[in-house]
Each structure stands twice: as C-alpha cells, then as structure tokens.
Amino acid sequence: MGKESPDTILTIENLVMAFGGLMALYKPDIRVKRGSITAIIGPNGAGKTTLFNIITGFLKPDEGSVQFNGNSIKGLKPHEISKMGISRTFQTVELFDNMTVLENVMLGFHTKEIKSFILSGLRTSRLRNHENEIRKKSEELLKFIGLHQKWGEMANNLPLGEQKILEIGRALASSPTLLCLDEPAAGLNETESYRASSLINAIREKGTTILLVEHDMKVIMNISDQIVVLNYGQKIACGTPEEIQRNVQVIEAYLGDEGNYVKD
C-alpha cells in the first residue's frame, strides 16, 4: 500500500461493494501496469462487471480506493472519469442503434468536441471546420479498426462481431489511456474473436493500457500479460497466463474439470 509507482496506471485497494446481503466484491487488491493487457477472469457472479462499473463510475463502492494515475476517481460520475482518460465497452453491446457507424465513432470524440449551444445552433464556419476534422479523425479510426467500408450503415445492421469491434472503436475515439473491455469476445465465432484479439493487441502496441473481462480462455491466454482471478468477490490469484494455468487454487476453485481446456 505504499507510494504510487509511475508504472502503475490503476490501483485498487480495500474495495468493498455489497448489494443488500450479497457481497459482490471484498478487497480484491489490483494493480494494473501501464501499457499492459490485464485480464480479469472468474466464474459468473465473481464480481468482474461490478468491478468495471466501479472503475468507470457507474457504481460507487461502499469502501476502499480507486486510484487512476495517482488520483482518486472514486465517486466521480462516468462522464468525468471518461474525461480523465478511461473508456469502456459493455458486456451486452451498447451501441447507438439509431445512428450510423460513423456517427457512433464521432460520438466517441464527444469530450473533445465544441459543445456550445449557441455556436451549434448558428452552425458557424468554425464549428463546421471542427466538425469536418472530427469526421476525418473518425474515418481514420474506422480504418484502423477495419470498418471504414461500413461507415454509412446503421449500427444495429452490423453482425455481432463487427458491433463489438465498433464498440471498441467508439471507446478508442476518446483516446483513453486505460481501455476497459467487458467481454469483447463473448458470442463471437473463431474468426471474429481472432479479429477482436488482434485489434486488442494493435491497440496495446499504440501504448494504451487494456483491462479486460473475458470468458474465452483462448483469447485470454493469448493476449494477457497479467491475469487476476476473482471468485466470490475476492482475488484468489494473480500472475502471468502460465502461472495461472499452473495455479492449483485457480484450477480447483474456478476451472475445475475444465482445466484441460485451458491448455488447448
């Protein structure tokens, strides 16, 4: 619990979160190294999504601290946390269905856009130039995630795999330093999940730290630097994929008979 080291982007300490009588999280101390891909795994109900909701401001923890770049972000609102450089995706895809692919990404730039009511209503040339710039940046981002050919489609017309990719793209638009991905590969077929994990790798190459929750062991073992295992709200293990695969406690508590599956 000492001083913040500059390599740590996110520090979670003594976190307690209960819903009524249910203890969702109980002091899972987590440190996320800058530039790493850290995965959080655990059986259903282990508290993974609750943890994400706390980090991104959707839930306020009962106790404990959440520090991002050395500053406490506990209790801040989601839009404030987004401004500080944390962006996220959702377990159930939460795209803006009533908007096009391009508009979804453009919304990701929201924190950097001119938001003056009067200027927007008058549509001044300064605003138009700014809008064009955002549009260009969004198109570049679409190229990076490989969806530029579908820019004009309504978001809900994309297949699930591309919706997940688009959601990552939208989250990237706010140029986060920490990107939280909630089950980016859930429901995807082999090709789609391969595409998703290469995208995640490419994002890390650009220097963005990634924190992800995932069930797909293949994806996790392939891309993570560090894995944190949660069970009933507590941290039961933490280490590299190899260490986790060999960890007896993890295999017993979480993987059980499926231990073999991990070595696939």
């Binding site: 401004k83 959702f90 508009e103």
Partner: protein
C-alpha cells in the same frame, strides 16, 4: 447521416411567405392567415418539445405552463407597469428559463411516467396561481388591453404583419434547432436516447444535456406565450390549462416527434382542427383528439413524418 435537405425547407418558406397574399384573394380562406398565426406560435413550442421528447427522450406535460408564464409575464408587466414589450419578452424568456431550470433539475432525475406526472403537477400548480393571484393576474377573468408590438414606429397591428413576425421567428428557430440536432449536441442527445449508459461512458453529461434541452424548450414556449399575449391582447388562465399541455403532445404525436418538421406539420393540422374544422363538435372536440392519438399510436407511432419511411420500408421488404 442525419442531414436536412435544403430544398423542402426552401419550398416551405416560400409557401409561408406567399400564403397571406393568396389567402387575401380567396374570401373562403382569408381567415386562414389568422389561424396560421396561432399555428406559428404553437410551432415555436412544438419545435422545442420535439427536441425534448423525440431527441432527448424526455416527456413533458408542463409546457402549457411555460407558455402561460411567458404570456402572463408579458401581460402583467406591460399592462400594469407599462414596460417595453420587447424588453419584457426577453426578460420573460429568461424568467421562464430560470423557473424551468429550477423545476427541471430535480424533475429530470425521474424517468418515464414519473417525469410526466411531475411536469403535469407543475402545470396544474401554475394554472392555480394564475387563477388565485387575482391582484396580479386578474384571476379567472384574466388580463385585457395588452398592448400590441411595434418597432421604431412600425406597428405589427394587422394579421398579416403579425403573421410575418411569427413565421420569420419560427423559421429562424427551426433552422437553429435543426443545426443543433446535426451538431455534437444533437448527436449526444440521440445517443442518450439510445443508450444512456454508453453515452455517459463516452463522456456525455446526461443530466446537463437533459436540463439544457428542457430549458431551451421552456424558453421557446415562453417566447410563444409573450407573442400570444401581444397578438390576442387578452389572456385568461384556461388557455394554459392541462388540456392545452396534452394538445401539444397530440401535435407532436400526430406530426412525428423524431423529425423536426413533423412538429410543424402537427402544430398546423391541430390548429386548423381546433380553430376551424372541429368548431361544430364543441365539447366533443376532445373525442376527436383522443381518436387521433389512439390511431397514431397504434398504426403510425412515428407520426405523419415517419409515414414515407414506413412505406419505403414496406416496399423494400416486399421485394
């Protein structure tokens, strides 16, 4: 992309511009200009409401009250204290905006039916105040002899002159609002409507935007109220009662709340229904409105403005 094509707006503007001259030539429709003045005033309200309901997804039954606040603010200060009507109009819009902010800040934390109930209650309270504060508002009898509007010696003292004043304002507000919808603010509003949590995660301050649009729509209603008072020169509380609040919703449901121009179509049609075509129904008028609301919610929930899209969609799925 959400784009407003200029041609329909241009055609509509020209039609509005030419209408009074045409109406003058045809005795049977010469009084339509007068009806369109009221329609224009309602448009000011429905444009704001359509932004609030169709784009930001918030229901308000209280906009009749904001309309009334503007009207009474103008009427009281110009008749009793002889203040300049234009100054009062601006001050009234600011005053109503502040009230809207104070009401909206807690109310917008509510969702769906609860928000509708809260705004409904606000509307009822305001009308009670209009009725009971006789010393200021004149009570149920209302206020008379409200001065007309004039600017540098030019008086808006004919129906045609007032018609142009109102409709130029409607077109300006329409363009302003259309621009707003296409801007980052409009995108944020549509995003909120679609997935509030995702919008918040992308840095959209949901509470701020809802309040901002609520205030904007209230300010427009207030402006319409001031213009109404100076046009009719007489106001009483019954104009601003809850039935009018619901009528505003019917205008939007009929026109289509997801398209800005739907709010204009709805306001015009309902104005003609209530001032012209449904005159013989008298009190039964309300049944017709109920019927319209029912038919549209069941068969065309997107309103008139969405019907071309519905047909296109049908044709496409046939193939």
């Amino acid at each position: 992309m959400l784009k407003f094509s200029r041609i329909p707006v241009l055609i509509f503007s020209v039609a509005i511009l030419l209408f009074p001259s045409i109406a003058q030539l045809v005795p049977a429709i010469s009084h339509y200009t007068d009806i369109l003045v009221f329609a224009g005033l309602y448009c000011l309200i429905t444009i704001g409401l359509s932004l609030l309901m169709g784009y930001a997804g918030q229901i308000s039954l209280g906009h009749a009250a904001f309309f009334g606040l503007g009207a009474y603010f103008s009427a009281v200060l110009t008749t009793r204290y002889g203040w300049n009507p234009w100054m009062v109009m601006v001050a009234g819009t600011l005053f109503t905006s502040i009230i809207a902010g104070a009401v909206g800040w807690p109310a917008l934390k509510l969702k769906g039916h609860y928000l509708a109930m809260a705004t409904l209650a606000f509307g009822i309270i305001v009308v009670i105040i209009f009725n009971e504060e006789i010393e200021i508002t004149g009570g149920p009898d209302g206020l008379t002899r409200i001065p007309g509007l004039k600017i540098m010696g030019f008086a808006f003292n004919t129906v045609e002159r007032y018609y142009y004043l109102v409709w130029v304002l409607v077109l300006a507000i329409f363009l302003f609002t259309a621009n707003l919808i296409q801007s980052s603010i409009g995108r944020a509003l549509r995003a909120l409507h679609s997935s509030e949590s995702a919008a918040m995660a992308m840095g959209v301050d949901a509470a701020k935007y809802k309040l901002l649009v609520f205030i904007y729509s209230a300010a427009l209603a207030s402006l319409a109220g001031s213009l109404y008072a100076h046009y009719l020169k007489f106001i009483n509380p019954s104009t601003f009662n809850i039935f009018f609040g619901i009528k505003l919703l019917i205008m939007i449901a009929l026109g289509g709340m997801h398209f800005l121009w739907g709010s204009i179509i709805g306001a015009i049609i309902i104005s003609f229904l209530s001032y012209e075509w449904l005159q013989y129904f008298e009190e039964l008028e309300i049944l017709v409105y109920g019927g319209i609301l029912l038919v549209f919610t069941v068969f065309a929930p997107g309103g008139l403005a969405a019907i071309p899209h519905m047909i296109l969609e049908k044709v496409r799925t046939r193939k």
